[in-house]
Symmetry: C2
Subunit: 486 residues, 2 copies
């Protein structure tokens, strides 16, 4: 990944409570990889996690609650619930943004699907992993089912996110390039780490949980643009939860499932860099590198949207006066979002042409700009047809080079070295809050939305973390009253 | 796979109702692979399946019922049930061999786990796929939940098995060689085919079901020798069922998940032979090539056991008079079953040394010969230490070359060109029945065992196929009475 150069170091050294061990350039010997990771996860205490890491995990949680609640009435979620509800178990946990309650496995599936529907969740830019769906969804379901403090909950989230990112680093980019939706294939292992942590697994049980999770990677990139894409983090979260539940009952796996000859990394990738998993555990934190999308679409087109919005605002561009929008882009942009003529909202998210058009017309690229209506809006269609995109090897993945040609012949140019929402140029807490508020608006009652955001920021002070799920969902009566009032 | 040469043709041509189209040697164009397969599955009627194919599927069903019931009290099953029971849904289907009833998703997991615990299930020798766990388990659960005739049930099993074998053929051996447990990675697609057929999916829904299943391959070979191995067909069956349930609610996937650039075959294998999926559908039947194990362990050591038993019986060998047992074997034998010193029964199945020893001592290699007791039996340990195995490139996978050296200096030699249980030398119906009877003995009451075998042979005459599950499990009261009587 071209842009990873700037992120590939270990910027977390400043966060170390102990001086960080120098990180080796060469891979560690292939031994005890799964066990070392398991040992770290099992031993971790909330106080071991540096404050900035806990803060980042809290931001990840806030963003996740927003996207999961925000998409909860989407057809994708409706259909998933219709498919599994007849087989669901006891009401142990809450579907966010709705009034249904099911067993924790079913709720894990639904909430993680919901949180990925808008393509608006968090991103680890080094690997394009969206960890929160697989990791937070089973954790929150467990936190409703068991008495788990906010502190322990957040610690488990960090363990899960850290695990997903580290195993992802070990196999990226080859693993992703061949076709895996890495969110579901690395995320499942993170899910087992978080769920296993909350279940209090022993080291040996955690080894098995990681192994059972490694047996269940989910997701192929061919699914992008269909509901199947959101299913991938959903099932990954559920698979990780099941792995941890089985391990808790001493259901065994092999001891070296991540690193063995016929284990995970060798089977799912032609690259295996095990040092990324085992080096610097507890000293350098990949979790710190999580980012949040200001725009409701794939991260690869954010720099272009950023550029278009900036040009629009700086020059007060009238869309009708635009003759051409010329994009120079990283190769992945056309590979992932090259749809010239999207027919519905979801496809719009995979169209850099549509994204550039709405950015210039509306000055934003939120969920509404990727609705069916927006994709079919004649003004959008007209401007979309004026967008051209060419691959430029000089443009890095987090960059964009945009020129807007106006009817009067003026050429407005903007180069984005690092789009907003990146590690170097992160969304502020206030911007994240605003994004969350927008997402939950109209789904949760106003007072409840406020309470959700407040409770999330102070998650570590909650005696029971499961409270977050109660606040983020509707009691059956409240749901009814809310619907009648609208 | 060395032995595949003799099986690689399309021996099913004799079964064709129409003259078979000549099968192309070169791969078909990569287009509409998923759709062609879906179309075939959706259109198939029970009468379209030739009688010998239906007969083979019935034999597969009988063998599967035996192994699933037989292992139902195993610790692996106990632990799996303990892990998932608290989250299970309504009592819609039966755990075979036991009295528990759960929702169909949970039961699918448990029955498929159970059926693989003894490593005694069916095998497609060309790909080493054990299709019945993933395919039959969700089908039988659905057949308890919905009114499904025996005819329709058997037709769905054929569609599922045929699908698993064909997609397996498309990627084997590269896919297996790299580390995938192909039973769970091809089986999941077969499971979706069978479950989708029973749910009456449209062609488009079946395309999605196959795609959602392709997103969820399960199982790494590193798990062999642990409980995780049986989990793989279990979760694969469940994943295929979920894929079909989602598709039935129009939960979308991509249209080309099997063949697309970032789809299943390209992502999970370096070999893609799509003609194996699309050519000769309805005319040549891979299902005919399913085989059943006479011995309760991995298929690769069957020729050796066969040779040892034959030598033992021919020469009335006294184990104490054995000085050495020298094996010449195919490379996979040592790769898969090279454990010199197994410590428990399960590990014994992955020890060619143990297998040869029990074959000479007991003249059989059933489940009892792979118990913890057998593995620790001093007589077995003593003889095991006299077994040597060397790889011989001249020995094919279905073959074995065994020499037993006696204390008096005699060297007894046996070459097995094709072990019993192979396609060319299949188990007879009577032998299959005897195997099933042995397996269910002590688990089901005697009269019920007889009824199960009878009902299975006449499955196509059953008004409701789900009846098989009732007969193969215990009513809560019956379970109690049976336990008290023992």
């Amino acid at each position: 990944m071209a842009a990873a150069g700037s992120l590939a170091g270990w910027p977390g050294e400043a966060l170390a409570q102990e001086p960080a061990a120098p990180v080796q350039a060469q891979p560690a010997p292939v031994k005890d990889v799964t066990r070392k990771l398991a040992r770290f996860i099992v031993a971790a205490k909330p106080g071991d996690v540096p404050a900035p890491v806990r803060k980042e995990a809290t931001r990840t949680l806030l963003n996740w609650l927003g996207v999961a609640v925000g998409a909860s009435r989407h057809t994708t979620v409706d259909r998933a619930i219709a498919a599994v509800a007849p087989f669901a178990g006891p009401a142990q946990a809450s579907v966010l943004g709705r009034a249904e309650r099911f067993d924790i496995q079913t709720v894990t599936l639904i909430n993680a699907i919901s949180s990925h529907v808008f393509d608006f969740d968090d991103t680890h830019l080094k690997t394009i992993i969206h960890a929160s769906g697989p990791v937070i969804s089973p954790s929150l379901a467990l936190a409703e089912y068991l008495p788990i403090s906010g502190q322990d909950f957040l610690c488990a989230l960090v363990m899960g996110i850290e695990t997903a990112f580290r195993v992802g680093n070990a196999v990226y980019p080859n693993h992703y390039d061949v076709g895996w939706h890495i969110t579901g294939t690395a995320g499942v292992i993170g899910a087992a780490a978080a769920a296993g942590k909350l279940l209090g697994l022993t080291e040996q049980q955690m080894v098995w949980a990681l192994g059972l999770a490694a047996s269940q990677p989910v997701g192929l990139r061919e699914s992008f643009g269909s509901m199947n894409k959101s299913f991938n983090p959903g099932r990954a979260g559920q698979n990780g939860l099941l792995a941890a539940l089985l391990a808790a009952r001493d259901f065994t796996s092999s001891d070296g499932m991540l690193e063995a000859k016929r284990g995970w990394a060798n089977t799912v990738s032609t690259k295996q860099d095990y040092a990324q998993i085992t080096e610097g555990l507890g000293q350098v934190w990949e979790t710190r590198l999580n980012t949040y999308k200001p725009f409701a679409c794939g991260i690869v087109i954010h720099p272009i949207i950023d550029a278009c919005i900036q040009l629009r605002n700086e020059y007060k561009i009238d869309p009708e006066q635009v003759r051409a929008i010329n994009l120079k882009v990283h190769p992945l942009v056309l590979e992932l979002t090259g749809k010239k003529t999207p027919r519905e909202g979801l496809e719009g998210k995979f169209s850099v042409y549509h994204a550039a058009a709405v950015a210039v017309i509306f000055g934003k690229a939120g969920e509404r700009q990727f609705s069916d209506g927006a994709v079919r809006d004649p003004k959008v269609v007209a401007l979309r047809d004026k967008v051209t995109a060419v691959v430029d090897p000089a443009v890095k993945e987090a960059q964009a080079d945009v020129t807007i040609v106006l009817a009067d012949g003026r050429e407005l140019h903007k180069f984005i070295p690092q789009a907003v929402g990146s590690v170097e140029n992160p969304m502020s807490d206030a911007a994240l809050e605003a994004k969350t508020r927008d997402l939950v608006q109209g789904i949760l009652p106003e007072a409840q939305s406020r309470r959700l955001i407040e409770s999330c920021w102070k998650v570590e002070a909650l005696p029971r973390a499961g409270e977050l799920a109660t606040i983020a969902s509707l009691a059956p009566q409240a749901a009814k009253a809310h619907a009648q009032k609208k």
